[in-house]
Amino acid sequence: MPLVNNKVGDDCTVGTDKALVDGKAQVDSLIKVVACYRHLASYVGGCTDSLQLRDELRQTREKALTLAVSICNHLTSHLRNKSLPEGQRKEMELLWVAFSSSLELLHVDMCKVFNISDIFSLANTDALVQTGLQGGGSEVAARALSLPDLNLAPNPTLSAGLESQERSTMEQEISQMDHMIDDMEMKVNVMRWMVEPHGPQYAEVLSSSDSASLALLSVDEEQPGHQPPCQRSHIHVLLLLFAVVLVAATLSVCIIFFT
C-alpha cells in the first residue's frame, strides 16, 4: 500500500491512509474468518457434526458479522467522501471489492449451513453421513476467532428449543447480511471493471511472514511422529472396508443364485 509522502502533513490524507490500513487489516481478518467458516461448514452433516461444531459455527459467524458491519460502515463512509484523492479511492475500491466478495461467500456458506443443518438434525446422529473424517473443527474455529485455544463451555445439551432458536438466529443473520449487501450496492457505486488488482496471478507458496504459519510449519515437522497411529487407523479402515466388500460380494452371489 503506497503511503503518501506528504511533507505538508495533510491531516485528511494521513487520516485516510490510516483508514486504509485499518480497512485492509479488517478485510484481511474477515477473509480469514470466512475461509475458516467454509472449512467448518464442510463438516456439517458429516459424521463429525456435533453440537460443538454448531457452536463453533455460530461463534465464527458472529465474529464475521461484527467485522462485516464495522468494515461496511468504515468503507461506506470513506467512499461516499467525495474529497477522497484518486489513489486512495482506488485502494478503497479494491478493499470494497474484496469485502463484497467475502460477504457473498459468507452469505452462501451461511445459507448452505442453514439448509444442511435443517436436513441433518443432530437429534438423529445415525443419519449423519460417513464422510471419513475423524476430528472436529476446533482448531479451525480457534484460528477463526484468533484464540490460541478454544475454551469451550461444557457441551450444551441438545433440546428442541435450542435448535429452533439457532435456526431463527441464523435466519435473522442471513437477512441482515442480505440487507447489508443491498445497502452497500445502493449507497456506494463501485465500478468493478475499473478496479485493478495488485497481486500476482498465481498465489505464492506459503510465506513465512504469517506468524500462524510458523507454528504450522513446526507442527508439520512433528507429523512424522504422528504417522504410525494415522497409518494404523488407516489400515483398520481399509480392513473394515474389505470385510464389508467381502460380505457384500457373498450377499450378491447369494442373490444371483437364488433369483
Partner: protein, 574 residues
Amino acid sequence: MSLITVLSPMTSHFQARSFGSMLVALGYIYPLQDHKRLVIKPDASLYRFQTPYFWPTQQWPVEDTDYAIYLAKRNIRKKGILELHEQEHYNRLHKWMNHKWDFIVMQAKEQYRAAKERKKPDRVVFDCQERAYWVVHRPPPGTVSAMDYGLDRLIDPNADEVTGESLLVKYCATYNSHDPFLSKCLPSNPWLTDDVTYWTLNMPYVEMPTKMRVERWTFSFAELLSDPRGRNDFRLFLKKEFSGENLAFWESCEDLKWGEAATMSEKAEHIYKTFLARGAPRWINIDGKTMEITVKGLKHPHRYVLDAAQTHIYMLMKKDSYGRYQKSPVFKETVKKAICPEEHHFTDAQLEQNAKKRRPSLSPIILRQMEQEQRAKMAATVDITQLCRFTTPVPHLAVYSGITDFPSANASPSLPFLAHSPACPSPISVALDSTSASERRVEAGEGEGEGNPAAQAAAGGNVSKSRMALSLHRLLKRGCTPATMFASLSPKCHSAAGTSSRIQPISPDQPSQAPPRRIGNFFQIKVDIPPECRIYPIESEDEDEENRAASRGGVGAKEIICPWESLTPQNGTG
C-alpha cells in the same frame, strides 16, 4: 459398489450398478482411486460419501469464484500441479474476474492455512472431497457422465466403448471406400463430371446392382434391408427357404410404424390375422413372452405395438437368415452378375459438354410411378412357393394381401395351423400365374398400384391350384377386400384339402414341376395378358365348388378372429 449392494439387496446387480453410477456421476459418492473417472467399477475399489456441503441436491450455483479459489489453492500447495484444462480455466478466470483477483488469492491463502490447522488425515479427506466436487462440476474434457440420458447415452463405461474410437474408426474404415467424395466413385461422381451414369446405375430397383452396392449389403443386415434392391434379393432367398413370412412381417411392421394413422388399427388387425394368430396363414415363430406382450398390446393398437415382435424377428433374420443368405447361391449369383462400371476419363472439352447437357432429373411423380411399376414387375416374379406380399404400403388397406403359404393344411379342417412346415406344398399356394396376374391387374385396377403377391404353384404342388386361383379370382371380381379373401381363404384351404383328390385332373395349364426360375419367366410373360385371355380350366365345374367354398368361407371367416373383437366378427373389415 459394495455399499450399494448392501443397501439394496432386493434389486438386481445391474440395477444396483446403474444406481451406483448415477450416484457417483452426480457427486454423492466419489472414488478414492482414479478420481477423475466418476464410474462405479465392478471391483473392490473404494468409494466414500461426499460431505453434504458438496452435495448437488439443492442445486446451489457452482460459482466460478470458488473454482478460481480452489485452483489457486492447489497451486499454492504445489506449483505447477494444475492440469492443462485447469490451467486454461484459471487463465480465463483471471481475465474475467480480474477485479477480484486479489481477493481470490488472499482467500485461497487463508483457506490453505485454515486447512493446515486440521489434522493430516482430515485434511486429506477434505482435499479429496473438494477435488471430487470439482471433478463433477468442472469435469476434465472428454468425460463421460452417467447423467447423460437419451439415445446418446453411453451405457458401458469400458474405455474403448466410451471413447467410441473403435466404433467410429471401424465405421470409417469400412465405409471409406464407398464414399463418393472420399474415394473414387465409379464411373464418375455426377456432381463433379455432370454425367449421371452413377445415379442411373444405382437406382433403387435396378436389375443389376453395382459391385459396390452388393458389397455394402455384406456390411450389415440393416444395410441390406435398407437398400430396396438388396431387400428384394433377400426376399428371393427367403422364398427359397420358405421363411418369407419373417421379412413380410417385418415389412408390415415398418408399414404400421410409418404409415398413416387412420388405417393403423386396420393394419394392426390384419397383421395379427395374417401373422400372429393361431392358425394364421403366415404364422411367424416368436417366443411365448413376446407373443403375449404383443397380443396384449394389440387390444389398444398404436404405432409401436409390434415393436417387440418386430425386433425379435429382425434379430432372428439377422442372426440366422442373413448368414445363410450370404452363402446362398442367390447371393452368389447376384455378386457374379453385379456390374463394375469403368471409370470415366473426361477431357475438359467433354466436361464442358456434359455441363451443357445438364438436365433436371425426373420429377418425383414420375419416379414414384416408375417405382410402382417396378414393384408390379417384382410382384410378377414372385416365387411360387411362397406367397409373400409386397412392400408397397397400401393407402387404405393392409398390405398383407399375400395369399399364403399354408402349413400342413392336410390336417383336419378344424385344427388351426400350428407350425409352418416349409416342405409342405401349400394347397393354396395356388394361384395360377394367370390368376395372379389377374389379381394383380384387378388390384392395380383398383388403383392401388400394388403388385399383389401372386400365389404361385409350388414346385411340387399339384393340388387344387387352379381351383383356388379361380376362387380367388372370383372373390376379387366380386370386389372383396383381401381381408375377406384371407379369412375365407383359410377355411377354403381346408375344403380344398378335403377335395384335393378330386381336383387333380383340373390343372392343365402349367407345368407344376417346372423349376421356379422357368416359372418366373413364364409368369413374366403372362403379366401382359389381359384377363380375358386367360387360359382357364373349365370354369363351370368350379362354379358349385366355389359356392360351397364361399359358404364355407362365410363360416370360416369366423375362424380367425382377433381376441379383442367380439365373437361376431365383422368379416375382416377391421
